[in-house]
């Protein structure tokens, strides 16, 4: 059997041992022949005269659209879809915060200190916690629903000031987020906009809505509901599965939804039910970003949360351990490929948000008012699978993962860890002991050298060169499962970074958690820039989403570009069919925002290029 390779050799061996399992890893070879028109973004099927594809002998679509127009349209559509995904998440999160604030649920807010901080920073009304929660949620929802000609109000209050000025100057301050997505679709429909530059600026606007609302505010609102991150050691990998428990695997991005299971499955009634079925209790098993989020806030759900198992492409394999009793999903990345695996292992699926409705999943529309009914349903379904299927399936949990992953790193905890200011880190950078910072973020895919291969190889090379790595997204799932987020990874770092890590007992790769935490990482960058008194593009900081997978990553990337950061991708974002679009995104945009896209599929060359940028930025700061 030929399968896609993984950076995680234990995982790879486990996959090969499961002869009957068909997963994404097996399908990679089958899909190896790709369509060049799709890869280059020059296939248009916006109208019935198409699909049109651009070739040397057919340089225009039937309507006259050039490669530049077609590529820009496709790119903006993808960014709009990605932004829409994150905006959906923040909207649901705000709706739940509001319901809790209104007293419509018995959930009590765990992050009231942050709520106080934010309401004074944002100048929001409210005499008590409930009123303040409602005011904050309302402000977010109002901004999302503004018409496009009204600017969103929180951007100015939350963005780093020099950036806000830059965005004003470039005229890319976003109007209502949903309207921006909506008009991106209008603009890219048949025979409307043909101006690549206008479409790329629109993508930047969507990037800002994604970053400040979809990422940043989702984090803040969830911190208020479920508690702020705290630095601690955690267990990761398939080894977190305990067959003596009834295991509920969660996939998605919305802790605001699945978070109700944290308390719901820990009550003494729930434990009694589990015990009657012969188990010790229930465990929530983290998979994809929602698991990373639970891990980040793990200090608040230590008992019930088993730990994070991996990333998007480990989810099919996780089910094949036989120890999963139920999959509860609410968003991506819930691969269609999990369904036949669930069927084969008799694992039921429940979906809480129809945007991620799986064909064989039972859909229960999430509503905070129905919280207890949902919890009841989850308990019953998982218990039934445990009783009926567990005795007959082979439970096979490989020895996989690490017990000492440093988690709970956020813009705030990192600062607290450093003694209340970024000065110690800045001093180390100035002294050259840490050359610079690389944010290794985004997804995991199976095409950039294999599952997580590019991510892991590049990260190892970066730390070897004394560049500290901050990770957020499925990259975290990759890096923690190969040991790079455990303190012992210090040994792989260059001499000066190694010494620092040893002294502080931290790994050279800091785990910010899910892709949503790209927002935290960018707040960290703004804090550092603030302490230095410079704008973001001046920092010796680079971003890389080496194994980007999906449209959401392109929306994240657009935020990175709006922030003025260099952004590396190992695989082009379907733009190479247009020289103009490629030149704008990889060169000209630097003159506008300060950021640019770097496409490089070779690890060594990439790290050379990123290091050179860091060195040039250091020189710019005279350090």
């Amino acid at each position: 059997m030929s399968i896609c390779v993984s950076a995680d050799k234990v995982l790879e061996k486990f996959i090969l041992s499961k002869k009957d399992l068909e997963s994404s890893f097996n399908r990679v070879p089958d899909q190896e022949v790709k369509c060049a028109f799709g890869m280059q973004g020059i296939c248009c099927r916006l109208c019935a005269n198409g699909p049109c594809r651009i070739t040397p002998t057919t340089p225009k679509g039937v309507c006259g659209a050039t490669a530049d127009t077609i590529v820009a349209r496709n790119f903006l559509r993808a960014v709009a879809a990605g932004a829409a995904c994150y905006l959906h998440v923040v909207e649901n999160t705000a709706a739940n915060l509001k319901a809790i604030g209104l007293g419509q649920s018995d959930i009590s807010l765990k992050g009231t200190r942050l709520l106080e901080e934010l309401s004074s920073k944002l100048d929001l009304p409210g005499n008590n916690v409930g009123e303040k929660a409602v005011a904050l949620a309302n402000q977010v929802i109002q901004d999302l629903y503004r018409p496009r000609h009204e600017k969103m109000e929180l951007v100015e209050k939350l963005a780093y000031t020099p950036r806000y000025k830059k965005w004003t100057e470039l005229n890319i301050l976003p109007g209502g987020a949903k309207a921006e997505v909506f008009d991106a679709l209008v603009k890219t429909s048949t025979n409307l906009n043909s101006d690549p530059m206008d479409m790329l600026l629109h993508a930047l606007r969507l990037g800002i809505t994604t970053g400040i609302y979809g990422l940043g505010l989702t984090n803040h609102l969830n911190d208020i509901i479920w508690g702020e991150p705290r630095i601690r050691l955690a267990k990761v990998g398939f080894g977190v599965l305990d067959p003596e428990y009834i295991n509920v695997m969660v996939t998605g991005h919305q802790q605001a939804l699945v978070g109700i299971l944290q308390d719901g499955l820990s009550t003494s009634e729930a434990i009694n039910i589990a015990e009657k079925a012969g188990a010790k209790g229930f465990k929530l098993v983290g998979s994809t970003c929602v698991g990373q989020d639970m891990q980040l806030r793990g200090a608040h759900c230590q008992q019930i949360f088993a730990g994070q198992t991996g990333n998007n492409f480990t989810s099919e394999i996780l089910i094949a351990t036989g120890a999963v009793d139920l999959v509860v999903s609410e968003f991506n990345c819930t691969l269609p490929g999990i369904e036949p695996v669930c069927d084969a292992y008799g694992v039921p699926q429940i979906c809480l948000d129809d945007v991620a409705k799986k064909q064989n999943a039972e859909y229960i529309a999430f509503s905070l008012a129905e919280k207890d009914t949902i919890i009841q349903k989850v308990i019953e379904t998982a218990v039934e699978r445990y009783k009926k299927q567990r005795p007959s399936v082979k439970v096979d949990i490989p020895e996989h993962g690490y017990d000492d992953v440093v988690t709970g790193v956020s813009q705030k905890t990192l600062k607290e860890f450093l003694g209340g200011s970024y000065k110690p880190l800045i001093d180390l950078i100035i002294a050259g002991k840490i050359k610079g910072i690389a944010g290794v973020v985004g997804c995991s895919n199976l095409t950039a050298k294999g599952h997580d291969v590019f991510t892991v190889e590049m990260t190892k090379e970066l730390i070897k060169r004394n560049i500290i790595v901050l990770s957020a997204g499925c990259t975290s799932g990759a890096l923690e499962n190969v040991g790079l987020m455990s303190p012992s990874a210090a040994e792989l770092a260059g001499e000066s970074l190694k010494a620092i890590c040893r002294q502080l007992e931290i790994p050279p790769v800091l785990n910010f958690g899910p892709c949503l935490a790209i927002g935290r990482l960018e707040e960290t960058a703004a804090d550092i820039a603030g302490e230095l008194g410079v704008d973001l593009p001046e920092l010796p900081l680079v971003l890389s989403a080496p194994q980007w997978l999906e449209e959401q990553a392109l929306a994240d990337g657009s935020f990175g570009l709006a922030l003025g950061l260099p952004l590396h991708l190992a695989i082009p974002p379907f733009i190479t069919g247009s020289e103009l679009v490629t030149n704008i995104l990889t060169k000209d945009i630097e003159g506008l925002t300060g950021g640019k896209v770097i496409v490089n599929g070779n690890v060594e060359d990439t790290v050379n290029e990123l290091e050179a940028i860091i060195m040039a930025k250091r020189a710019g700061l005279n350090i």
């Binding site: 190896e32 022949v33 790709k34 369509c35 060049a36 028109f37 594809r53 002998t57 057919t58």
Partner: protein, 146 residues
Amino acid sequence: MQRIFINKSLCAGCKNCEAACMAEHTTHRSLWLVNLSDPSNKPNNRVALDNSGQPTPIFCQHCDDPACVTACMAGALTKNPETGVVEHNRDKCAGCWMCIMSCPYGMMHTSGVYEDTAAKCDFCAERGTPRCVSSCPTGAITLRTI
């Protein structure tokens, strides 16, 4: 005589030739309607990656000295002296798969429609220009008279 010439450096790997061949061998012949999820729709051609990752169209060569014809004991495979096309006669085919094993290009295959017989490129016998050639958007495969 006509043959399909292959210039693999132009091949974009879009598999349009595969889709076209499948469509051509269904009753409606429609690219809009050909069921690309139906495993009984098998193209008579193939796009594979060569060692350097370059997509490479692979077609029946309608060889001058066809190994498949030599291997066929049932006389189902013959080389048409007029057109040069290697033809397969399903009625004579014994389903022994000797041709499948002998073709150096792997261009003989089992028919998806009739399980018990072999199948191969028929050079789009019912068309002027082979459907794959007309469907190739890059000119990687072209028809030439030799």
